[in-house]
Amino acid sequence: MVEESNLKLTGESRQKIVALKQLYPSPRSAVLPALHVVQEQFGYVPVPPMAEVADILEILHGEVEQVATFYRMYHQQPVGKFVVKVCDSISCYLRGSDELLAQGQQKLGVKCGGTTPDGQITLDKIECLAACGNAPCIQVNDEFIYDVTPAQFDAVLDELKRAKKNPYFVP
């Protein structure tokens, strides 16, 4: 494990952030997409790379941190390789999302928000994903799975236990 204080952006990440800076009329507008780049590299947004982002964009460190803590998609702490997010808003609730969440907790032996001991899967809930017509729906990292039945959910979790890459990625 690398000490968090030693975490550094790769050259590729830096390049992406520099390109983002040049894209917008104001460099500060690149903060949100830049933090997505950070999270892509580390799986969460550690403090030292946030400082690098601030330096590249020539804004205050605090300005980046304010953003990182406001938006729910940025993880403040390391999470599992796959984050399974069950939508629990109204339309999914009406079609069985609470049952899915209970099933997931039981199967993985973790509480909502928790990560399996091998670091493979984090189980969490999420607000409406704008897929209410295909409820209940879930996300695996940033990819959607629609119309999830309990049997399918079971299969998804089994698959993720072994998966190396997100099997639900659709280009």
Binding site: E63, E127, D142, D147, Q152
Partner: protein, 456 residues
């Protein structure tokens, strides 16, 4: 039940039987034209002809007039006439911006999602025309962070369009320059509120701004800015291509055109339904979507996303035309056209708790009535739901609600008590039952043994 493979790309209901004139897909054409996502296919179907017409045949001001004549109203919630909104942009030099609101996060709403992933050029064309109309050379698509695939699809489409000379400098040789930037949010319902969206796009926390000044005068980077919902903008190419009269042929007197009704909850066939504005709830739910699931009865519905009041399952309601005026006349709102159906086995207390929890979780925290008030509402509803309700709790709920609505900084606060107030009007006895019996009056929870805090 839908028979869709949960891993496949085809995520929305298959096209309904042809022959019914209702089903001339316009915005949803991708359902009948495979590969519409690609520029070549989109152009073959008449894509970018609206843009061509706008640039070659009309002055910017004339484009605004056409959109005014079409009667197009915003699809994001308030239904403000799009052409009128554009005409507020001052005719001054310097930068102006168009921001497409693709933050789509209101529970029950999912039309932008389908439009973006399947027909990205329709949206890009709409943005380009809007930019031309208001004299802007830069359009943004603020897309919610969770739509990672949607953002990929849009970026790919912008690339294609740029390579074809449809985005960038000197578009179609007309001298019009325009760029489109796809900007991903990062998970915050409040960024759908237009002034919070602008803050977020400037790289800040999504706190709503004080108005005036309105975005038309001082929006993004304090410059004149138009903000429209994705679906609103998707209509624009068709209006240019076929003319405002054609568009105004659809719909009702005051709500023109067609829109995507997002149907979810306890129906047989949920999904997006593209219908002329003013179609009735009955037609949508019973004729097209197969009625309430499992052969059950309708208990209530929410007509326009979670921020709009419940409506009862009466004949009068079912025969109401779904347009801004029709639904308002029944005491609710058209909103985002997210129709949520509740069957007769639904415990309304549990459903209301879930609805209000959303507002608690999504309150941006800027103002106290909303931040604190939504927590109290959830706390009280939670104890009601779990059999620990106290006499006086219903009055308390209404009281706390009235201290949020109208006293908060933005409409999110105003929306939070809406489900409670409307449900209490329609189903008060269910809330009282919870207090006195310690369990649900209907649904699976009705037979649950009472363990805690029953009937003090």
């Amino acid at each position: 039940m839908s028979v869709i493979n949960y891993k496949s790309n085809q995520i929305f209901p298959p096209p309904p039987p042809s022959g019914d004139p209702t089903y001339q897909y316009i915005l949803l054409k991708h359902r009948v034209v495979p590969g519409l996502r690609k520029l070549a296919v989109y152009q073959k179907e008449g894509g970018y002809e609206g843009l061509k017409k706008a640039l070659n045949d009309y002055q910017p001001g004339q484009v605004i007039d056409l959109v005014k004549q079409s009667g197009l109203r915003g699809r994001g919630g308030a239904g403000f006439p799009a052409g009128t909104k554009w005409s507020f942009i001052p005719k001054v030099g310097g930068a102006k911006y168009v921001c497409c609101n693709a933050d789509e996060s209101e529970p029950g709403t999912f039309s932008n999602h389908e439009l973006i992933e399947n027909n990205p050029h329709q949206l890009i064309e709409g943005i380009l025309i809007t930019c031309y109309a208001i004299g802007s050379e830069l359009g943004f698509i603020y897309i919610r962070g969770e739509f990672a695939r949607g953002a990929r699809v849009l970026e790919e489409a912008v690339k294609e369009a740029r390579a074809a000379g449809l985005v960038g400098k000197n578009i179609l040789g007309t001298g019009f320059n325009c760029e489109v930037i796809v900007h991903r949010g990062a998970g915050a319902y409040i960024c759908g509120e237009e002034s919070a969206l602008l803050e977020s796009l400037e790289g800040k926390r999504g706190f709503p701004r004080l108005r005036p000044p309105f975005p038309a005068i001082a929006g993004l980077y304090a410059r004149p800015t138009v903000i429209n919902n994705s679906e609103t903008l998707c209509n624009v190419p068709h209006i240019l291509r076929h003319g405002p009269e054609w568009y105004a042929n659809y719909g009702t007197e005051k709500t023109k055109g067609f829109r995507l009704y997002c149907l979810s909850g306890h129906v047989e066939r949920p999904g997006n339904y593209e219908l002329p504005c003013g179609t009735t709830f009955r037609k949508l739910i019973y004729d097209l979507a197969g009625g309430v699931w499992k052969g059950r009865k309708l208990k209530a519905l929410i007509p326009g996303g979670s921020s709009t009041p419940f409506l009862a399952a009466t004949d009068e309601v079912l025969d109401t035309p779904m347009d801004f005026e029709g639904i308002a006349a029944r005491g609710s709102m058209q909103g985002s056209a997210g129709v949520i159906v509740f069957d007769d086995q639904t415990c309304i207390v549990g459903a209301v708790l879930r609805l209000v929890e959303f507002y608690k979780d999504e309150s941006c925290g800027k103002c106290t009535p909303c931040r604190e008030g939504t927590q109290w509402l959830v706390q009280i509803l939670h104890r009601l739901e779990h059999g620990e309700g106290r006499p006086g709790d219903l009055e308390l709920l209404l009281n706390v609600g009235s201290n949020i609505a109208g006293k908060s900084f933005c409409l999110l606060g105003d929306s939070a008590p809406v489900p409670i107030e409307s449900a209490l009007k329609l189903f008060r006895e269910e809330f009282e039952y919870h207090i006195h019996q310690g369990r649900c009056m209907v649904g699976p929870g009705a037979n649950r043994p009472v363990t805690i805090g029953a009937a003090h």
